[in-house]
Amino acid sequence: MSTVDPLEPAGPGGEHPGDLLSAHLDGELTPDEAARVEHHVASCADCRTELEELAGARCVLRSLPPVAAPTGLVTGIVRARQRASRRGVALALVAASLAVVVGLAATPVPGGERGPDRPEMALTSEGRRFDAGLGTTIDRTSPGGGTPAGLQRPRPADRDDDRESLLDRLGDRVGDAVSGLLHAVGG
């Protein structure tokens, strides 16, 4: 170690600058601190040597070349995460679809939302159908109302669009959509 110049204290307590040397190289000192370090280094051979060696180490570190990531590492991670993310979306869709189906099953079929090619028809609270086209009410259970549903093909105007059929069609569509989505995700 060099002798400390007692007349020109360069660092805290008049000691060698120590870690102020590195900070000086990094421009992290106040002008006053920097001036004191410079002043000390000018008269202290050991600190001068140390400063040069620190500068060399700093330069070596800063000259380290970039390292390319192995081919496919990043794209592999991105694709895996995106696949996982799509699966999450598909599962959410499945869950949402099930919720819709369950919700529909628990909801009475509304009366006024038939397609334009069908006569208005509703299921009355007594379990009978009101055919708006014919203006008549068909009792499903009375002998005069015809054969119980399912045993005969209904008239075109009386096409069976009860809840089960509606749910079947909806279920098929949801199933198709989900399986298509899962296929796309899996592919």
């Binding site: 120590g18 870690d19 102020l20 040397l21 590195s22 900070a23 990094d26 992290e28 140390e50 060696e53 620190l54 060399g56 180490a57 700093r58 070596v60 570190l61 800063r62 380290l64 070349p65 970039p66 390292v67 390319a68 990531a69 192995p70 590492l73 990043v74 794209t75 991670i77 991105v78 995460r81 995106q82």
Partner: protein, 179 residues
């Protein structure tokens, strides 16, 4: 501007006004993250694991990213993920001098230049690995990522004086190891 050193930042890394998508960040800055990860771990296998962890953290934290130097942000995520891992395991010897030929990474300059750079790089990588993990993280944030002392102190949750001391001692140890 938070980062004053740009040697690793390609294309100037202009301030970003909009939050980029995660996939974009990963693809555009994957090599940068890998470089920092490799400097911290000194091992390609560990670096790959670290990159994976970092990209997951980036995906979770992208909403919190504020326009600025994205590589400074990525550098501190990488360093913190590294230190978290070190603290979790605390079994990795700090004096592991890698002697693995696989660590020679092909680079684009001429073969001779590449070879010289890699030999030097390997020496420095080995010397870096000899540093205590906290010193290494501090030095990498300063000399590889290019952060100011105050930023490093914020990132690591230590006083600026500690940062200064770690950088100084880290460089001094490195100098001794390379002598």
């Amino acid at each position: 501007m938070r980062v004053r050193r740009t040697s690793l930042r390609r294309g100037g890394d202009a301030p970003v006004d909009d939050v980029p998508s995660w996939g974009e960040v990963a693809r555009r800055h994957g090599d940068f993250v890998y470089t920092v990860a490799y400097r911290l771990t000194g091992d390609h296998h560990d670096a790959q694991d670290l990159v994976q962890e970092v990209l997951l953290r980036v995906q979770r934290g992208l909403a919190t990213y504020r326009p600025g130097s994205i590589e400074a942000w990525l550098g501190r995520i990488t360093t913190n993920a590294f230190l978290d891992d070190v603290r979790r395991r605390r079994r990795r010897p700090v004096v592991a001098l890698p002697d693995d030929p696989d660590q020679v990474v092909p680079s684009s300059p001429s073969v001779d230049e590449a070879l010289a750079a890699d030999v030097l790089s390997d020496d420095v990588t080995g010397a870096l690995q000899a540093l205590p993990a906290e010193y290494r993280a501090t030095v990498v944030l300063c000399d590889v990522v290019g952060l100011r002392y105050e930023e490093i102190a914020d990132d690591l949750g230590v006083p600026v004086g500690t940062v200064r001391s770690r950088i100084h001692r880290g460089r001094a140890l490195l100098r001794t190891a390379l002598a």
